[in-house]
Every structure is written in C-alpha cells, then in structure tokens.
Symmetry: C2
Subunit: 196 residues, 2 copies
DNA sequence: ACGCCTCGTATGCGATAGCGTACAAACGTA
DNA sequence: TACGTTTGTACGCTATCGCATACGAGGCGT
C-alpha cells in the first residue's frame, strides 16, 4: 500500500526556521553546507526537492543528521498513562513472565517503556525466538529487583539489580531469571519504526 | 563547519536488504512506492542519489518513514552500565533533586534512561528554564514512588505513583514534588539528536 | 543624498534524476 | 526441452536539479 504523499516532508520551512534560529544567511549556510545559496533558497521555498546527497549536506550545515532534520516535523503531545490504564504486554503468565506497557500507543511514539516481572526460573522468551522488534530498534533494560541473564545473539550477560543494559532490539534475545526471587525489569525500546 | 560526507548515507544496500526481507521484487516495490523499478535498481546500486520526494516514497513502500530508513544505518552494540557505574545527571543536591544516568554514553544512543529523586518541595528546574533537550527529543517519565507535578509549556499535570507521562522534551519543562515524601522518577529521553 | 554591502531570488545552462521501453538471464512448469 | 513468466538492468529521452551569474531591494555609514 502506497502511503499518500501529496507533498513530501515540509523540510523547506523547517530549514528556514533552523537557519533563522542560528542567525545564518543563505550564503552563510551555503558556506557551512557546501550547497549553493540559490539552491538553498529554492529548497526553503519548496520549489525543488533536493537529492538525499544534498539534503544530508544541508542538514550537516545545520549541525544535524538528515534523519534528525526530517524528524523535526513529527508532531508531539503530552500523553499520560495512569497506573490503572496500563496495557498488557507480551507475556506468558503460565510460565511466570508478566508484562505491562507504561507508555501510550501513540503514532510515532519514540520509546516504549514496559515493566516485566519474571518469577524464579521464568524467561521472557526462548533460544531461537524471532526478533520481536523491527530493524533498527534499540533497547535498554534496567534491572530493578533481582538478577537476570540476557541471552542475545549467542552471548550471555549477567545483570544484577541496578544494572542497565543497552543493545540492538532487533537481534534475537530474551531475559531469564536464574535466581530464587522474582526479578523486575523496566525495558525501554526505542525507534518503533512502524507507523500505526 | 561542514561535516565530511565523502559518501552520502549508504541507503541503497539498506533498501535492498529491507526489500529482500519483505520478499519483494523491484517491480513489487515499484508498485508499492510509486517509484519506477529501474530507478529503484539504480538507487540500490548506489548509481544515483534520489531526491527527498522519491526517497520518501521508497521508504513508504517499505512501511517506514524516511527518517527511520536513514537511521537504520546507525551502528549499535550491547552496553551494560553496572549499578556502581552510573553517571551523575543534571541535578541540584542542595535543592533536594538528585539524578543518575543509567544508560551508557554511546554515540548514537537512542534513549537515555535516568533516575531522579526529588525531596519534598524539590523540583528538577524552574519556570522559564531553557529546554535541556535538542529539538525533536521526546521524553517519557514513570513515577515510581510518590507524586509529582509536570509543568510543561504553561500546563500543569499531576502524576501519581505508577503513572507514565510522554511529551516533547524540547519544550520548557520541569517536575516538582508537592508531597511530603521523596518522589522517584525514571525518565526516558529519546532521539538525542547531536552526534557525539 | 550617495555609495557600498548584504540578502534573497530570477535566470540560463550543464549535469543528473527519473521514467518508459527493451533486453538478457534465471526460474518454474508442462 | 520448450515455453512463458519474472527479474534486474541497459539505454535513450525528458524533466528537474544544482550552480554561477546577475539583479533588485533594503540597510548602513559617510
């Protein structure tokens, strides 16, 4: 299905706003980016669509990566998920793993925060599980209580309470609780790539 | 200062890999994206740099936004921050606010996780503070203990233990503890935009 | 008032993007 | 083996990008 893109990302006004905020003229930005001033003028006014190569140079002139520049036009808002409103996450209560999602299910949500409880001996998944997250996802997990072992990409990492691990979430991974008490994890997955 | 961009983002091989993963032919992706198959072939082989307008259509055909597609080529690895290794965050102990950063200081880190303790009456900042985060940042904050008030962009939000709030981190904001006990927050800030 | 400088944009031109068409190779099926 | 289909890419053409040059407007200093 082709997304309706009547107009490409309105990058022009955004570039103009950033340039103004940095107090740069078109010729200043031309100097910094290596893109000509007339071209920058056309891009800002939406008269032309620059190639990626040129757009990256413009972004660099604004001290940004292009992905960052593009993201600046994504809308944002405050969203509160009350303690009583948490959504259930992917879990298997029968096996001793329960999970709750703490962040709202917003389009364009940057990081999903979830809370996981693992009973002794329980795991969030198993060896060879397909990755649950899209390519490009990253995850940080904070061990709040207990001890866990992270199995990822054939490697084993032991984590104690208070430890925080960060890794590529699109690699096959799961957590296990090798201890005799419940383990509690907070997991942050960023760059949920699919627009909902 | 112009960043050295000898080559633009290697988007071509990435598009090829994603297309293969989705089991699409060039003609399939052409259908989904509205970009011709020969053009897609040239882009994948790095023979041409598509315009932003075309690149966005290609990304859409892969069920991604262009910013996401571009980000996929950022490197990643597992990093563990032990409980004893946490870095101090921005805090003011004299005012009753202490903070620790739980995630590693990696280049390209997607989300920074930090823990904040607010003594009764303390705040993470004050009205009119400049934003601490770059444009495009988003933040989620989980109240682990106590109650806090979020002041953001002229609005006031009350949060209880277990509540999670998500908002644009580049807006002027701070948290206050209006209660009689310490408040503990975990904050997740995503899209740290500046490359370090 | 005048001259100079800065700024944004119009214009023309060469280079390149982007498409339609066609070809060759590979694959699947009878 | 023969045939049809699918796939990726070469090629030629048109449209657009991207730059150098130049112009007009506005601001500033004398």
């Amino acid at each position: 299905m082709v997304a309706a893109l009547a107009h490409p990302n309105p990058i022009g006004p955004r570039i103009r706003a950033l340039r103004d905020a940095m107090a740069l003229s078109l010729r200043d930005l031309a100097q910094r980016s290596g893109v000509s001033a007339p071209m920058l003028s056309q891009v800002e006014r939406g008269e032309t669509s620059p190639t990626l190569a040129v757009a990256e140079r413009i972004a660099a002139g604004l001290d940004l990566r292009l992905s960052q520049l593009l993201r600046l036009d994504e809308g944002g808002q405050v969203a509160i998920v009350r303690a009583s409103e948490r959504r259930a996450g992917t879990s298997a209560p029968a096996t001793g793993h329960s999970a709750e999602i703490l962040t709202p299910p917003l389009p364009g949500q940057r990081a999903e925060l979830s809370r996981h409880v693992l009973a002794p001996g329980a795991a969030t998944g198993g060896p060879g599980d397909p990755p649950m997250h899209e390519p490009g996802s990253r995850e940080s997990a904070l061990v709040q209580e207990g001890r866990v072992v992270l199995q990822i990409d054939g490697e084993r990492h032991e984590l104690a309470a208070g430890d925080c691990v960060t890794f590529d979430a699109d690699l096959s991974h799961h957590f296990e609780n090798p201890g005799h008490d419940d383990a509690i994890l907070l997991a942050v997955v960023s760059a949920g790539l699919r627009r909902s």
